[in-house]
């Protein structure tokens, strides 16, 4: 044997190998300096003295099969070489992680089990990038994930993050305050004209109450509100407050209302108060509904909404009326609907069905 051959042989013999067994049973020998890269292998070799022969190969974790392991070895062999620049390493990494996500996942898992932090970082970073900004369905597809959340869980609103009770209370207080302010505003407007209208309104009410049993039923015990509502209606419609009249009383009321019209000239100018009324009331907007009859079963929330709408509408009517007052005093015409309710004609060809 030549000297050079001997030298080579010597070097070969000097090279130590560690014997490793992958999860799928394949036994390999790996250069010691590479193998010692992995902390757990180090431990096994140093503390348990295994891995020095084929028969005592160190078993790698179950996540490390042969294919994945060879990839990992490639990675280690490249990076352990000291002379490489950062640019080179980065470039290698970019090429290295070009694989499908299933493989990436296996690689991440294997690297993690071998505690190879740089490779774990690399693979996790890459996996994150593959799902970044993607829609849910696509993510599930790419990574073979089950769609096993309940509909609720998927849409789950953020639990009240304003868990700070202080903030929640503040919200509630603010809303309450706003509402109160609004109400106070309305009441202020109404009170100004209150007593001027009271008597005629009282008359009206008693008349209505006496005349229409249905009306009585709905206006039970709500005298105060009725008054207010009356005011509103009177001022806005200018005469006809109550909407529901029986045939036989219609023209009595008509005259009554005409009377009111006379006395109520000042009323016209009253700002229609947006009086809140959530109770049943003869003057509730139900009677203003297009059907022209009272709907007793109306939902209170709806009622409030309608209340507001009607008030708005009434206000607008009133202002229109006030504007036209200067020009002429139009008599208010009543006509009968088929179902016994009164229809009032306002001067603008605008029919309000009551």
């Amino acid at each position: 044997m030549s000297e050079s051959d001997l030298a080579i042989m010597k070097r070969e013999m000097m090279q130590s190998y560690i014997w490793l067994k992958t999860a799928d049973g394949s036994i390999q020998r790996v250069e010691q300096e590479i193998a010692m890269f992995f902390p757990m292998i180090c431990q096994e070799v140093v503390y348990k003295g295994v891995g020095t022969s084929k028969n005592h190969a160190i078993s790698l974790p179950q996540q490390v099969n042969q294919a994945v392991f060879s990839l990992i070895l490639d990675y280690c062999r490249f990076h352990k070489v000291p002379g490489r620049s950062n640019k080179e390493r980065k470039s290698y990494d970019q090429k290295f992680i070009r694989m499908d996500s299933k493989m990436l996942r296996e690689l991440a898992s294997a690297a993690d089990s071998l505690q190879l932090k740089p490779l774990v970082d690399l693979t996790c970073r890459t996996l994150a990038r593959t799902i970044e900004g993607k829609p849910l369905e696509e993510i599930r597809e790419i990574l073979n994930l089950p769609d096993d959340l309940t509909e609720e869980e998927k849409l789950e609103p953020l639990k009240n993050t304003m868990d700070d009770p202080g903030i929640r209370l503040l919200n509630r207080l603010n809303a309450k305050k706003r509402k109160e302010l609004k109400e106070r505003e309305r009441l202020k407007n109404v009170e100004v004209e209150e007593h001027a209208v009271e008597r005629s309104v009282d008359d009206l009410i008693s008349f209505i109450n006496g005349g229409d049993p249905k009306v009585v039923k709905t206006s039970k015990g709500k005298k105060k509100n009725k008054k207010k509502k009356n005011k509103k209606i009177v001022s806005s419609n200018d005469k006809e407050g109550a909407e529901d009249f029986h045939d036989k009383e219609s023209h009595d009321l008509h005259s009554k209302q005409q009377g009111v019209e006379e006395t109520g000239s000042g009323i016209r100018e009253v700002e229609v108060a947006n009086l809140p009324s959530t109770e049943d009331d003869i003057f509730t907007p139900k009677s203003w509904s297009e059907d022209g009859y009272i709907d007793d079963e109306i939902d209170p929330v709806m009622k409030e909404m309608l209340d507001r709408e009607i008030e708005d509408f009434a206000r607008r009517l009133n202002s229109n009326w006030v504007r036209s007052r200067g020009q002429e005093r139009r008599p208010v015409h009543f006509s009968m609907n088929g179902n016994g309710t009164i229809r009032r004609h306002i001067g603008y060809n605008l029919d309000v069905i009551m």
């Binding site: 299933k102 993690d112 994150a128 073979n144 869980e153 789950e156 953020l158 503040l170």
Partner: protein, 303 residues
């Protein structure tokens, strides 16, 4: 889809899944990752995911501040008091930071960027509540020299400090207040970043005197500094990494456009100052309704 494929992800140790998902950043975790499947949802709700929170997401131009604010609070809630690091871009307000500070006495690192809604005094007040802070970085946020002094005194463990703003080549406005404040109150600094600062050699010298442990010094776009002679020697000898005023800004995460106004025209000079204000004023993302008075529950669609 092969049934056999599913178990693979479930076998992935949760720490690994957590490590992957964590890189998406707080907002995407809450809005996206958490809704993919049950195992991910579990991981996303675990407090360990929320020890370090990244609310930067520079791409997130669409979400209004109110939503992001809620998300941030939620993220902090999930940490269950174990929050250690947080980075917030744009949406930080005094209220939000108070919320965080009150629940995270262990906070070690706070990074803020482009947060126009919080004043210097507000920030100062918050930081006084975080005595264990080791890292503080503000980029394009209001922070006066006075506040820095208070902060330096309240946070003795501060190792890394950064205050980044727009660099002006001209006009050559000089100001050493901040540098002096740092030199005076932050002796333990190992890392200092003063991108675009107006300090001069005087300030730099003070820093070198006052912060003997500096290992990293970033003076990019600090055009009033002349790194020559003795100063240069001290820097290169004692500090491991020095980024000089004209060094490359390729790794700077913000807009590194240098402002170069011809200061020969006085009008321009005055214009520049207000221009600077406009520059850093928020443009369109501002959600005016930050009072919380209205109920935004209809906007909630994430957990």
């Amino acid at each position: 889809m092969n049934q056999g494929d599913y178990p693979d992800w479930a076998e992935l140790p949760p720490e690994l899944t957590s490590s992957i998902l964590h890189r998406l950043g707080g907002i995407e975790i809450l809005e996206n990752a958490q809704r993919v499947c049950t195992s991910w949802r579990r991981v996303c709700k675990d407090p360990s995911m929320w020890r370090k929170i990244d609310m930067s997401n520079p791409h997130r131009g669409d979400s209004c501040h109110h939503e992001l604010d809620k998300m941030c609070r939620h993220a902090v809630d999930r940490s269950q008091g174990a929050l250690v690091e947080i980075e917030i871009w744009r949406v930080a307000t005094y209220e939000l930071l108070s919320y965080i500070a009150d629940r995270s006495s262990n906070l070690r690192s706070l990074k803020l960027a482009l947060c126009y809604q919080i004043a210097s005094e507000g920030l100062r007040e918050i930081l006084v509540k975080l005595p264990l802070l080791e890292v503080l970085e503000t980029s394009y946020c209001a922070l006066s020299a006075e506040s820095v002094k208070v902060i330096g005194q309240s946070c003795p463990n501060l190792k890394s400090f950064g205050k980044n703003c727009e660099g002006y080549r001209r006009p050559r406005n000089e100001c050493d207040d901040l540098a002096l404040a740092i030199a005076e109150t932050m002796p333990g600094l190992t890392r200092l970043q003063l991108f675009g600062n107006r300090l001069t050699d005087v300030g730099l010298k003070a820093i070198l005197d006052g912060c003997p442990n500096l290992e990293y010094l970033d003076l990019r776009q600090c055009f009033n500094v002349n790194l020559v002679g003795d100063l240069e020697k001290r820097c290169s000898e004692r500090i491991r990494v020095v980024r000089r005023p004209d060094d490359s800004t390729h790794d700077y995460p913000f807009d590194a456009t240098v402002h170069d106004m011809d200061s020969s025209e006085d009008d321009d000079y005055l214009y520049d100052i207000s221009d600077e204000e406009d520059d850093i004023a928020p443009a369109d993302e501002f959600d005016d309704d930050l009072s919380g008075a209205s109920d935004h529950s209809d906007l909630d669609h994430f957990d």
